[in-house]
């Protein structure tokens, strides 16, 4: 009787849900506030660092034969002779009103250029992530299951080799094998989505593999550790004692638990993929965000650099927020207060 009396009533559940929703709301507000403050600090830092870089845009544009008066005139025309604070406020006001501004170098609006670059980098990163997961999940689980056996050690060693290969070296190797020798995939370049979807996908296969393989190898090690821990956990033994088959137990109870630490790493890996994309785009000469960033730095097209860095910073912060939310959903024990 006592036990029955202690069971929660329907109204208690509703209250708890209300409390949870309220907590979720507060958690979101807190996290969004942190995100905005971080973005603000990032914007100040990016702007300040880029603007103290030697090598002024007007000088780069006009070259070595330009007269000082021509350089001064162009500097004024670009608005770069105004106080830094005024330049910063102008830029931030533009960002807040979704006007990314015009390139110093080409005088063309930046937004469409970044948009076109994202059509390459976005799918490349997603492809890299997909390749990474396709490699990491089976490799991680397989090496965890066999962690006490020789084959497990071999699989683990394979992952180690994967981590040791720099992605650009892998890219060059893939080009030599699949493009130069076998001629089954393009060595480099990008067919735009509007020209041919198949062509665009083909252009991204080798880059995505180069990008994803290393990330996959890193992730595989985390998955391995996580699954090894779960395999030895009491709740899995209980699940098996209930009569579940080992793979059923792992899938129903184990993987959810094993995925929590992996999810955190996945969030971090995404930042790694964005940075890796810069290198891979250079190897495969893809006209993505990385190539745009490098050429904009070389041309001192500072406003384009600022816009790209802010976009990347915002993406990483938003992804981290999503990951944060996700693992609280997967594991409610984490709570919403921390």
């Amino acid at each position: 009787m006592l036990l029955i009396a202690e069971l929660p009533k329907a109204s208690d559940v509703a209250t708890r849900r209300r409390v949870h929703a309220h907590e979720l709301q507060r958690f979101l507000i807190r996290r969004l506030a942190t995100l905005l403050i971080t973005l603000f600090l990032a914007s100040v830092l990016v702007f300040w660092i880029l603007n103290i870089l030697p090598g002024k845009p007007a000088q780069v544009i006009l070259g070595t034969q330009a007269t000082p008066s021509a350089v001064a005139a162009l500097t004024a025309k670009l608005g770069l002779n105004r106080p830094l604070v005024a330049q910063y406020l102008h830029w931030i006001h533009g960002l807040l009103t979704l006007h990314l501004g015009d390139s110093y170098i080409s005088s063309q609006p930046i937004a469409p250029v970044i948009g076109a670059a994202l059509e390459v980098t976005g799918p490349l990163i997603l492809g890299g992530l997909l390749v990474g997961l396709l490699i990491a999940v089976p490799l991680g689980i397989a090496s965890a299951i066999r962690h006490t056996k020789r084959s497990g050690v071999v699989l683990s060693g394979l992952a180690q080799v994967g981590i040791a290969i720099p992605n650009f070296v892998l890219g060059i190797l893939l080009i030599i094998v699949f493009a130069v020798d076998l001629k089954v995939l393009p060595a480099s370049g990008f067919t735009t989505w509007s020209t041919s979807v198949t062509g665009a996908l083909q252009s991204l296969i080798l880059p995505a593999i180069s990008l994803g393989l290393v990330e996959g190898a890193i992730l595989a090690r985390y998955i391995r550790t996580s699954v090894v821990e779960v395999l030895g956990a009491d709740f899995l033994r209980t699940a098996r004692a209930k009569g579940l088959r080992p793979n059923q137990a792992l899938i129903r109870h184990g993987l959810r638990n094993a995925s929590i630490p992996v999810l955190t790493v996945l969030g971090l890996e995404l930042s790694g993929l964005i940075i890796g994309a810069v290198v891979i785009e250079a190897v495969f000469t893809l006209p993505g965000l990385g190539s745009l960033l490098l050429s904009s730095v070389a041309n001192r097209d500072l406003i384009t650099v600022q816009d790209i860095v802010m976009l990347v910073a915002a993406t990483v912060l938003v992804v981290n927020l999503i990951v944060d939310l996700l693992y609280r959903i997967i594991d409610p024990r984490m709570g919403l207060r921390s």
Partner: protein
Amino acid sequence: MARSLRHLAQTTALVASAALMLAACGSTSSTAPSSTNKSTPLQTLTIGSSNVFPPTLNPTANASQAIDEVIDYNVLQHLVQLAPNGSIVPVLASSYTVSDANKVYTFTIRKGVTFSNGNPLTPADVVFSMKRVYAPGSTYPYGKIFDVSSVQQVGSDQVRVTLTNPSWNWLYDLAAYSNGVILDPSTVSTLATDPIGTGPFKVTGEVSNYSVSLARNNQYWGYQPHVSGVVFRYFSNADSLNAALQSGEVNMIDNLSAPSDATLFKSNPKYKVVSSLTNGKVQMTLNNTYGPLSNKLVRQAILFATDRKAIMNAASGGYGLIDGTDTVPADPYYINLASEYPYNVTKAKKLMAEAGYSKGFSLQLVLPPYFYAKLAAPLLVSELGAIGIKVSVSTIDFPLWISQVFEGGDFQATIIDQAEGRDVSNYGTTGYYWHYAKTPEIASELTAANAAPTKAQWIAGYQKVLKQITADAVNDWLYIAPFITVIDKNIVGIPTSAYTESYNLSYVGIGGTIPASAKQLGYLS
């Protein structure tokens, strides 16, 4: 238990690998890259360029040579242009006369020429274009050498240009630099993305940081090149560019950034390697005001201690030319002074001792981020080390190089390709970054030479200047930079030299032949 888990893992791994394989194989069936399509008479020529992507397509607003490579001569034309053999040929001018001791130039504008938008070329367009060079707020990168006092239309088909000072170089400058491009006044607002010109090609599109596409201009007044269009594709990575040529994605490489890569293609019968020279003088620039370097004997010692042959072999795979001063074979005043400073360590040490530096000194060598500089530096470190000069090396990016070294003069020594043509006048430019003590004297020598009544006297005057700067060992001229083009062997009509900023494709073709006259001007047959 363990067995079924293993089975699960195996199945997942198999599915994953199969998906990857399918993705890779699926791609082969539809569009395997093909280099040329022999069934159609006109094909698109894809050039793999080692240049940077043009930051804009407007050559009158940005100094990047990458813009001129694509746009100049191919899309926008000049009254007179430079041929690969170095001669100045009339293009939008059907003829021209020079009078008043090289001060007045009268051009007869070619009839029947239209811009690619259909507008006819008029003398008024020429006047507009030339006045634009020196108008207030002009951003022409070479505007300062456009020493013009007036431009006017004469009669119905002529334009007369009067210079401020007589010059034997002005016509060359008009042909060589973007100062000479003739624009349709109604299209200047779209120059950055869609320059409209009278040339054999017109711009049809660009993908930022990737490619610029040109199509043949069917309204072109001159010889029609034997291609339907040209695509310039940009590669920041030399290995990727080489692979793109080998896999047939590009038909040619405009210029190998690492000349030693020529060995990859030289023995392969599929390709032709065309090596030529540029206007680029690769030199170790010496700051003539920096302590020990202000002593002429020390600078001479450095020049004697430099093994230029070894440096050229290391930095440009042996391609190039050593001539030991600031001139290239295309210059009318060309002179080879390589024998002035033969590699002679003993003599160098003697000069160091004579200058009071028998124990040597330390020298900071600042490099721009270019292959040739990085490859030449280690040899210079060891060669100068042999005469006691302890060289420390650092590398900076190019905008910083411009700001710190070129603009600020804050350096001791650097390695740079002085890429402009006929640029000996830099030695007479006050405040130029190497700070040569005799700049004013050189300036008056050059002014006098430019005002000389005969060409022979002008040449003699310039050669005197070259001998003077060489005797003073102002800089350590290492070698003339090569231009090494690798092409599919059926390509014809590319320029066989690189003395222009432009890469003139007026006679280019995939297959076929080129006119005999073009061959004489220096286009590959």
